[in-house]
Each structure stands twice: as C-alpha cells, then as structure tokens.
Amino acid sequence: MTQTETARTAKVGDTLPTFQRTTGFHNWNRYAAVNDEFVPLHMDDEAGRAAGFPTAFGMGNLQFAYMHNMIRNWTGAEGWITRIGCQFRSVNTRGMTVTTRGVVTAIREGDGTKTIDLDVWTEDDDGNKLAPGTATVTVRT
C-alpha cells in the first residue's frame, strides 16, 4: 500500500500518515480539563485495577479526537469529516504509544468535491487494534 500525503491525490488502498502519541496522565489530565472528564478510571491506577485493567486508561473520547486529528492533518483546511465512528474494544493503558491509522476504502467524485471513505483505527505498541472504525470525508477538488 502507498502512503498518500494529501486527500486530493488519494487512491483506494492508500494509507494515511499516522498520528501517534505516547499516552499517560500528561495527555489525559489535559483532556479531562477541557472536557470535564475527571473519571477515576482515567486518573487513578487503583481505579483501573478495580475495574479489571492493569492501570488507569485513557478516554475513548481522546482516541476519537486522535482519529479526527489524523484525518484533519491529511485533508488540510479543504477537508471536512462528515461521519466518523468507532468501537472501543481494548483500553489505552498508561504508558502505551497509541498510533492512529487510516486506509482509503472508496472514493466518489462530483460537483467539485471528492468523497472519501476510510477505515480508521487506533492500535497499541504491538499493532493490536484498540478502536476500529470508519469515517467519510469530503475534500474540495
């Protein structure tokens, strides 16, 4: 597969440049501060363990934001996400490097715009998917 640097020149099968963050309380506390999401599971390793996980874990909403960031970095100001969704299947534990990836699955053109369907997901350090999903973006051509 080819990595495509911009949405305008994308072809089906192309991959998007990744968005990657090493995650922990420094990311999660900042997100909690803007989204008022001060939940013990995201702030306290003991709370994470009590819920059955090895540590505290990051907000699904922040992984969702990382998917938006990856797409925005790719489309630039000419693009607009029209739909995006994902399932949070595994948690983003403390210290994990989360990589957000995307691949072009379909392209439709017309009326001066290109509509692009994507598979998007976050994955852990070993390449295991945390949150698989899909998105649709429009880009002016």
Partner: protein, 172 residues
C-alpha cells in the same frame, strides 16, 4: 449472573429525552484550549490558535475541531433535567428517566459515532437534545454486559444541525 439487566421499565423508557441543554457562547479561547489538549504535546494547527491566519482559510475564521464539546463544565441553561445526577453514578441515565437502574459497578465508553453538519464558530450557542436510543446486552470478558445507547443532536442558534452523535456506554 442475572439473565438480563434490562427490565420492562427500562425498555419502556426507550425514546425518552434524557437531556436538553443550551451552551454558553463558544469562545475562541475554548477552541484554543481544546485544540491544545487534543494535539498535546505538539502545538495544534495554526488555524485553531491564530485568528488572522484562520481568516485566510476556506473556513473564513476560527472554527472548532469537530469533536469539540461546548457543554463541558457548565451549561448556560439546563432545560431537562433541572439537576443532573452525579456523573459517577452509573445509574444516572435511569435516574433521569425515573426508572430503577441495574446498579452495576463498572462502566466505560463502548463506542462513538458522529455525523457533522455546519462547523461551530466563536459566538455560536449550541442546543443539545439527547434521547435514550436503546438497550442491548451480551456476554463478554466481564460477564453479562449492558449496552446503553444515547443519541444526541446539536443545533446552533440558526437551527442548523452541528452534530448528530451516538454514544454507547458499557456497564458490567
């Protein structure tokens, strides 16, 4: 393990409004801080933090990152419910609905889905109306797990749709 957490009362509440609220006017500072948090530790793209630069972009000015939440912390007007139950209470949806909740002890975000309409800009006032879309359940690594889906529709002061959002909470 019970056969089901979903009672007739819970099933009967499907479709009921769970929240109706109106945001304070969105500010450029709110947008800037949001962008700083979701791009940390790198600086966010310039269009979120530089009003002059943003004015030269196709958007014609600063717009919020699409996942921005204008209802965080406090809302200007809470129409329903008048008082929101403690967010750490996992039965808070059923408390709002006035039905007994399942009383489960753990929960986390199961899925997000968003459809985006017009962008949010500084000065916009957003109204959000949320409804209980449904319950489902299945067995998983934590035993029987209850899935609760809320649909939330946001409109701006011009009654334009900003966002349609579905969020599923998993409780066990």
């Amino acid at each position: 393990m019970p056969e089901s957490y979903i009672t007739d009362a819970m099933r009967g509440a499907i479709g009921t409004e769970t929240e109706r609220r109106v945001s304070y006017p969105v500010s450029a500072s709110d947008i800037r801080r949001w962008a700083l948090a979701v791009y940390y530790p790198e600086l966010p793209p310039r269009e979120y933090i530089d009003e002059d630069y943003a004015a030269q972009q196709p958007s014609g000015g600063i717009i919020a990152p699409q996942e921005f939440n204008p209802f965080a912390w406090l809302v200007a007007k809470r129409i329903w419910p008048e008082v929101l139950p403690d967010r750490l209470n996992l039965d808070r949806i059923e408390i709002i609905l006035g039905v007994p909740g399942p009383g489960l002890k753990s929960g986390f975000n199961g899925s997000n889905e968003a459809e985006y309409g017009v962008p949010m800009r500084p000065g916009d006032v957003i109204t959000g109306v949320a409804r209980l879309a449904g319950y489902s359940e299945r067995s998983g690594r934590f035993g029987l797990m209850l899935f609760t889906t809320i649909e939330d529709t946001w409109t701006n002061q011009n009654n334009e749709t900003v966002k349609r959002y579905r969020n599923t909470l998993i409780r066990y």
